[in-house]
């Protein structure tokens, strides 16, 4: 690469390239996007790995996430503290998993975390109800929501505990080839 940039050292860019599905150019572009979310907070010089986190409220204003009904859960699932404050590592991680090169297994893990609203490592009926309400913007009647949740759990639950564990979820996702193309955000 010919251009001299002082945002990251070469070693850092190599590390990012090996740990995510992005190339150097894309990582630099991502840093630009991260910086413009909070210019006063994010330094331009990342060579000494500053510990900067952008709060949830600023991240969900990104055009890619703004209208997404699951935006809060997406950002929370990728944050280390669980409250949605993303460091640059988490930011890159989020878009790397949501890129088109991430494999199905990795996407399934994070999709499971996103849909698990109460963070108990199961998708129980309440989680499903919340998912449904966010999907349909509460246009379904409560009886319909109830029926859909019961049927969905019946279909997907393999071991009969009326909740979806990660194994159940992954088994169901493996039957949907579309999952790879829909669980994808372009940045």
């Amino acid at each position: 690469m010919g251009n001299k940039q002082t945002i990251f050292t070469d070693e850092q860019l190599d590390a990012y390239q090996d740990c995510t599905f992005f190339t150097r150019k894309e990582i630099l572009r991502l840093h630009g996007r991260y910086h413009e979310l909070a210019p006063h907070l994010v330094p331009m010089d990342y060579t000494n790995d500053p510990d900067v986190k952008i709060p949830l409220a600023l991240i969900v204003n990104m055009p890619e996430l703004k209208e997404n009904p699951f935006r809060d859960r997406i950002v929370e699932s990728f944050s280390e503290d669980g409250h949605g404050n993303l460091s640059f590592n988490d930011f890159v991680d989020m878009f790397s998993v949501l890129s088109e090169m991430a494999p199905r297994e990795l996407k399934a893990i994070y999709a499971f975390k996103i849909y698990d609203f109460n963070v108990d490592n199961y998708i129980c009926k309440e989680d499903l109800e919340k998912t449904l309400n966010k999907l349909t913007k509460e246009e379904l009647t409560p009886e319909e929501v109830n029926l859909v949740c019961e049927k969905a759990i019946e279909e997907a639950d393999l071991d009969g505990d009326n909740k979806l564990s990660f194994a159940d979820f992954e088994n169901m996702i493996s039957r949907a080839p579309d999952f790879l193309s829909t669980f994808h955000i372009r940045i």
Binding site: E11, D14, A15, Y16, D18, C19, T20, T23, K25, E26, E64, K66, E67, N68, P69, E80, N89, V92, D93, M101, E105, I109, Y110, A111, V119, N121, C124, E126, L132, L135, T136, E139, E144, L147, V148, K151, A152, E154, E155, A156, L158, D159, G160, D161, N162, S165, F166, A167, M172, I173, R175, P177, D178, F179, L180, S181, T182, F183, H184, R186
Partner: protein, 760 residues
């Protein structure tokens, strides 16, 4: 066993029947519901579920606290087990049973799948295990495993730093850079051409063409319509590659070394750009212009001397290489898409999939998001209503009516196709009868009649077929899409095969005639050129008339300001058809890929503008992955395969015309290649092995038969392996069901024991 009944039913054809019977059987087994606690007692309240409808008196849903303690400490319920299995998967030790990992890794490392968990005591040993696993892999594999691990980027960077330190101070990227540097730079050059086709393997990815535009389209319209534009971009890459190969190795040498001017003056013709006549006839555009042989005047400095370039040989090799590379790329893409869209079982869990997999995360505009929510809502309501009401059994009368309706629509379609075939047959211009009676403009118009009719038919008739198919009622929208694709393909295939038949007749008819003034190759090339251009013109006028003007009318007339719906299948088939024309024509007109490049650029921008102005986001869910797989397969067969067969047949069997083009004194084009290889051994001693290899391997039918037999045997083995794996999967699924039953049984027994001991 009920589980086996479930498995047999999932492979049957009738999906609705599956659902109803599945419910009937699974319901009794849903009677067991057990609560799990973590640490808090309050969680119990949050986890009360509704009473099951068919409660078996043996089971209940409230367990004693001792039972609950046992349940919550089950290893499969703990997060650690999930992590270990996920980790074992990603480190490619797939054949190892996960239980062995569990027994050695009871506690998590700091690599937590679910964040916010505390570290465990024996972190260090688990870290060492992981690092040992990573050490055993090559650098590329290591990177792949690292990327696919479900850890945070900061943790991955730490692991990477440890691996690097372990590796005696050499960074991973330096290791990779050292080996095969030149090979990799060649690969990256190819990737620049292909615009990121092989992005998973690449180190340096080129800037993708139209990235921002595609993002905007997907934000408004979603994945389905995006797939059309991605397909268009992919075709552009194939054409750029073909153009570069033919341009660099064929056109450029020919331009730099023009043949001695022939006695015929340059003919003028009206509308030469559209008909390909006139100035273009004797240009690098068409076959006839290319030199017959090398000019042997240049003696010294063999390499720099352009006149020593063997144009006929270059012709064969560039066309052959171009087709071969395109074939390899298509097969690679098919294998990739096949891997993504393959499903072992027919899915019955439609509702759960609809809830979890139908939201398109790419859509980011407010209005489109609202529409998408509305669509999903409607689809869920439809699915619920389908589940609640029983499927109506068709009686004989309605079956007869349904069949006769289908028969009627199919016969109308087939009649239309037959009419088009006749039209193409009779409209075919007899160019060799061209005399100077008609003036050149009328001659040009006469030449353009056939392409005009063909393009109009291929653009408009599928729309007519779609209108007809609205009368038919199909069981599922997928069947409707497949039937419309089949009819469309049949139409295009039939009229194109009539055209091919006309050409072959003309070619063979020419053998008997003595009148050999014209190059049949240039004529065929010109016809294909006219077809390609006319296709572009008709597509442009269709967009302007049927999309812009009609869309304007619809928007202003209807009260709800509805917009048009994008028909993805039809437009993709149009692209496949136009690409077929280019592949057929590249032998006779080496610059045709360049024309196609210009056409695709124009089409992209027109379609994009039209999409933004006149179309609404789709109402139905478009199964993008499966449809993409289907269209890639259609692009390969029959489109590319047909073109390849045609090119091979022409090169091998058909006698080139004797007074124009590079092969004018040969019986067939491939003969030159044969002669050259045979002569290579004699002229240049270091290439004797190549000549020997050709004579005894390529030209030897026995060897080819053996090779084909071996290939078929390998395919058969793979098919059997696949069948075996399907059987393993179904057995494993039965095993899962059985173990679920066992678990329920044991839990009930534990509860019974606890109650018995509590009573004592």
């Amino acid at each position: 066993m009920a589980a086996s009944q479930i498995m047999e039913m999932t492979s049957s054809e009738d999906e609705d029947q599956d659902l109803i019977e599945l419910e009937a059987i699974r319901r009794p087994y849903r009677a067991v519901k057990f609560d799990l606690t973590h640490a808090n007692q309050e969680d119990l309240e949050a986890q009360r579920y509704h009473e099951p409808k068919h409660t078996n008196a043996l089971y209940r849903n409230s367990w004693s606290s001792s039972t609950q303690r046992v349940l919550s400490s089950m290893p499969s319920r703990s997060i650690r087990f999930n992590q270990s299995t996920a980790l074992s998967r990603s480190t490619k030790m797939r054949r190892r049973r996960p239980l062995s990992i569990v027994s050695t890794a009871h506690c998590a490392t700091d690599q937590d799948v679910f964040r916010g968990q505390e570290d465990c005591d024996d972190d260090v040993t688990q870290n060492e295990d992981l690092l040992n696993k990573l050490q055993g892999l090559s650098a590329g594999e290591c990177v792949r495993v690292l990327r696919e691990m479900s850890l945070t980027v900061s943790e991955k960077r730490q692991i990477r730093a440890w691996v690097v330190c372990w590796d005696a101070g050499q960074p991973l990227s330096a290791n990779r850079a050292l080996c095969c540097h030149q090979f990799k730079s060649f690969i990256s050059f190819l990737k620049v051409l292909c615009g990121g086709c092989y992005s998973r393997v690449s180190q340096q990815k080129s800037i993708k063409l139209w990235q921002g535009v595609l993002k905007n389209i997907s934000a408004h319209f979603g994945t389905g319509i995006l797939s059309y534009f991605i397909f268009l971009r992919r075709l552009l890459h194939y054409n750029i590659l073909l153009f570069l190969i033919t341009g660099l190795f064929l056109v450029l040498p020919q331009i730099s070394n023009p043949p001695s001017s022939k006695n015929k003056p340059a003919a003028t013709a009206d509308l030469w750009m559209f008909t390909g006549m006139g100035i273009l006839t004797d240009s690098v555009m068409f076959y006839g212009h290319y030199a017959n042989s090398t000019n042997g005047n240049c003696k010294a400095e063999m390499k720099l001397c352009p006149e020593n370039y063997n144009i006929p040989l270059a012709y064969i090799f560039t066309i052959g290489a171009g087709m071969f590379i395109t074939c390899v790329m298509l097969v690679y893409r098919i294998s990739k898409s096949f891997g993504r869209s393959f499903r072992t079982f027919k899915t019955t869990s439609n509702l759960a999939l609809k809830v979890f997999c139908s939201w398109d995360f790419k859509v980011s505009k407010k209005r489109s998001v609202k529409l998408q929510s509305g669509n999903i809502c409607i689809q869920l309501k439809e699915m619920l209503s389908e589940l609640s009401c029983k499927k109506q059994k068709r009686n004989l009368y309605s079956t007869f009516g349904w069949l006769s309706l289908h028969f009627l629509v199919w016969s109308i379609c087939l009649l239309c196709i037959a009419a088009c075939m006749l039209a193409v047959y009779y409209l075919h211009p007899y160019i060799d009868q061209g005399s100077s009676k008609v003036n050149s403009f009328q001659k040009a118009v006469g030449l353009l009649k056939l392409p005009l009719v063909m393009s109009c038919v291929s653009h408009l008739l599928p729309g007519f077929f779609d209108m007809l198919s609205r009368v038919e009622h199909y069981d599922s929208p997928r069947t409707q899409v497949y039937v419309s694709i089949a009819r469309n393909l049949l139409l295009k295939g039939c009229i194109f095969s009539v055209l091919c038949y006309q050409w072959l007749k003309k070619i063979s008819g020419r053998k008997n005639e003595q009148n050999k003034q014209q190059c049949w190759e240039t004529l065929v090339g010109q016809e294909l050129y006219r077809l390609v251009l006319m296709d572009l013109l008709i597509a442009m006028s269709y967009i302007i008339l049927a999309e812009f003007l009609w869309g304007l009318c619809i928007r202003n007339i209807t009260l709800r300001k509805r917009k048009l719906e994008f028909d993805i299948a039809r437009d993709v088939l149009e692209l496949i058809y136009s690409q077929t024309l280019v592949w057929f024509g590249v032998l006779f007109s080496p610059l045709l890929p360049a024309v196609q490049i210009g056409k695709l650029f124009l089409l992209f921008y027109l379609k994009k503008t039209s999409l933004m102005m006149n179309f609404q986001p789709p109402r139905k869910h478009w199964k993008a992955t499966q449809m993409n797989a289907l269209f890639t397969k259609l692009l390969f067969f029959p489109s590319f395969a047909g073109a390849l067969a045609f090119v091979i047949y022409t090169m091998w069997r058909v006698r080139p015309s004797s007074d124009c083009g590079p092969f004018s004194n040969l019986r067939s084009m491939l003969l030159l290649g044969k002669r050259w290889i045979r002569g290579l051994g004699r002229s240049n001693p270091s290439f004797v092995w190549l000549s020997w290899a050709y004579n005894n391997l390529v030209d030897n039918p026995l060897f080819l038969f053996t090779l084909v037999g071996l290939f078929l045997a390998i395919i058969y083995i793979h098919m059997q392996v696949l069948d075996g794996q399907k059987m393993i999967i179904s057995r494993l699924q039965k095993q899962i069901d059985n173990e679920g039953e066992d678990k329920k049984f044991l839990i009930a027994k534990v509860q019974a024991l606890n109650e018995a001991s509590a009573q004592q």
